[in-house]
Every structure is written in structure tokens, then in C-alpha cells.
């Protein structure tokens, strides 16, 4: 597999088992945070280990902090106040 050139957009696919979802209406994930649309779920076994290895390599970082709590990963849009569409 050839590595794309820097700046090339890459879309990642992950299968998750849903634990929380707010896709239709924006909601605050944390106190004082701006509302956003999000979905939270548990990834497949070893999925996170593969993801972290690839992402740290892609961003050339030795380590990164991620929204991973109790094996659950949250995917969210930008806060509603910054929305450019809709």
C-alpha cells in the first residue's frame, strides 16, 4: 500500500458498538462545552491499538491524548456555533 502524500485527505472507517448518540440534535458532551453532534461507542478488540499506531505515525507524534474512556471513543462534529453549513 502506498502512503499518500502529505496533506492528502484520508477518511477512516471504524466499526463501533454504540453507547451514546446525539446525531439529530447537538448536545454538550461535557459541562461548559459547546453543543455538538456526536456518537460514542466501543471499538472492536485491538482496533484502538492499530489506530493509535497509525495516527501517531501519520502525525509524527510519539504520543497523543485521545477521547478514549472505558474503551469508548467519541466522534463529534464541530460545535454548533462554528457551523458553516445547515
Amino acid at each position: 500500500m502506498n502512503c499518500p502524500s502529505p496533506g492528502y485527505p484520508v477518511l477512516l472507517l471504524s466499526l463501533i458498538c454504540v453507547t451514546d448518540s446525539s446525531l439529530l440534535e447537538p448536545k454538550s458532551q461535557f459541562q461548559k462545552s459547546k453543543p455538538s453532534k456526536f456518537i460514542t461507542g466501543i471499538v472492536l478488540p485491538y482496533e484502538w491499538e492499530r489506530m493509535s499506531a497509525v495516527l501517531c505515525m501519520a502525525f509524527r507524534e510519539p504520543s497523543m491524548n485521545a477521547p478514549l474512556t472505558e474503551g469508548k471513543l467519541t466522534f463529534s462534529t464541530k460545535p454548533v456555533s462554528d457551523m458553516a453549513c445547515e
Partner: protein, 156 residues
């Protein structure tokens, strides 16, 4: 990651999709996502756009190239647009073509509902790097682009 992608694409190839897109993105869609409507005899006929309730709905059996193009078009400029794609296996639900078309036209029941807890969902996302916190730590952002509900627990 490659293994999962191939697995997922094989699932999607043999499934039917109902796609909901926000009106602001409607003009950017390629005509090829308006999939041909199969006749009862099984032969293909002219493309039929399915539009209902202010949303664009298309119904299709897509191959991997179509899905790749769909990702590229729908997620190119705005991460705030969520495109919910409902994957329906016609064999599992034993639906006729007319019943499936009705679901697309009326916008029910799939993408107007939140996936239930325990649902199996395919998430398409982009990663971003940003620095935050008092210590200037490097954080990973998981930007949501696209959701496909593969197995909704609300159906059970």
C-alpha cells in the same frame, strides 16, 4: 485497517442503502448516486431520484468504487454535515421493492432516529491534531463525517 475496510465494503456491496443528505449538499451530488430502479422483471430501467421531506434520498446497491466516490463528495467541505446512511439487507427484512421505495420517500424510519445503545454502527471520520490544556498536550480529534447503521438494536 485495510482488512476491516475490505470487510465493510463487502457488506455494503450486498446491501441496500438509503441515503439522507442535507439540502445544502444536494447540488454537489453526482448523478450516478441516483441509482437505477429495478423493474419487477429484474432488468434495470432509467435512474429515478427519490426525494422526500426536504431531504435527498437515494437507494442503491453500491460497489466499492461508488462508495469511495460517495465518501469523497459528501465529506469534502463541511464536517458538520452528517450523512446518515441506513443499510438495509432486503433479504433479511424480506421487503419488496415498493416497500423499500416508500421508506426512502417518506424518510422513515431509519435516519430520523438515533441508533439505539448496542447498535453496530460504521463511522467514517477524519483525524485532526491539536494542542490544548495548560501543558500544551497534543490531542487527537475524531471528526465525525458519516454514519451507517448496520444493525440497529431498535429493530430487534
Amino acid at each position: 485497517m485495510t482488512f476491516h475496510l475490505n470487510l465493510i465494503l463487502s457488506i455494503l456491496t450486498y446491501s441496500h442503502l438509503i441515503i439522507s443528505v442535507s439540502p445544502s449538499k444536494k447540488d454537489a451530488l453526482p448523478s450516478s448516486i441516483f441509482m437505477p430502479s429495478p423493474s419487477k422483471a429484474g432488468s434495470s430501467s432509467s435512474a429515478v431520484p427519490l426525494i422526500g421531506h426536504g431531504k435527498l434520498a437515494a437507494k442503491a446497491s453500491l460497489n466499492s468504487d461508488d462508495i469511495g466516490m460517495l465518501f469523497a463528495v459528501l465529506c469534502d467541505s463541511c464536517t458538520d454535515v452528517i450523512v446518515a446512511v441506513r443499510v438495509i439487507d432486503a433479504r433479511r427484512f424480506n421487503l419488496t421493492w415498493e416497500e423499500e421505495a416508500l421508506m426512502g420517500l417518506t424518510g422513515r424510519p431509519s435516519y430520523d432516529q438515533e441508533p439505539g445503545v448496542g447498535s453496530l454502527v460504521l463511522v467514517a471520520w477524519t483525524a485532526s491534531r491539536y494542542e490544548g490544556g495548560a501543558e500544551g498536550r497534543v490531542n487527537l480529534g475524531c471528526n465525525l463525517n458519516w454514519v451507517a447503521v448496520l444493525n440497529d438494536r431498535k429493530d430487534a
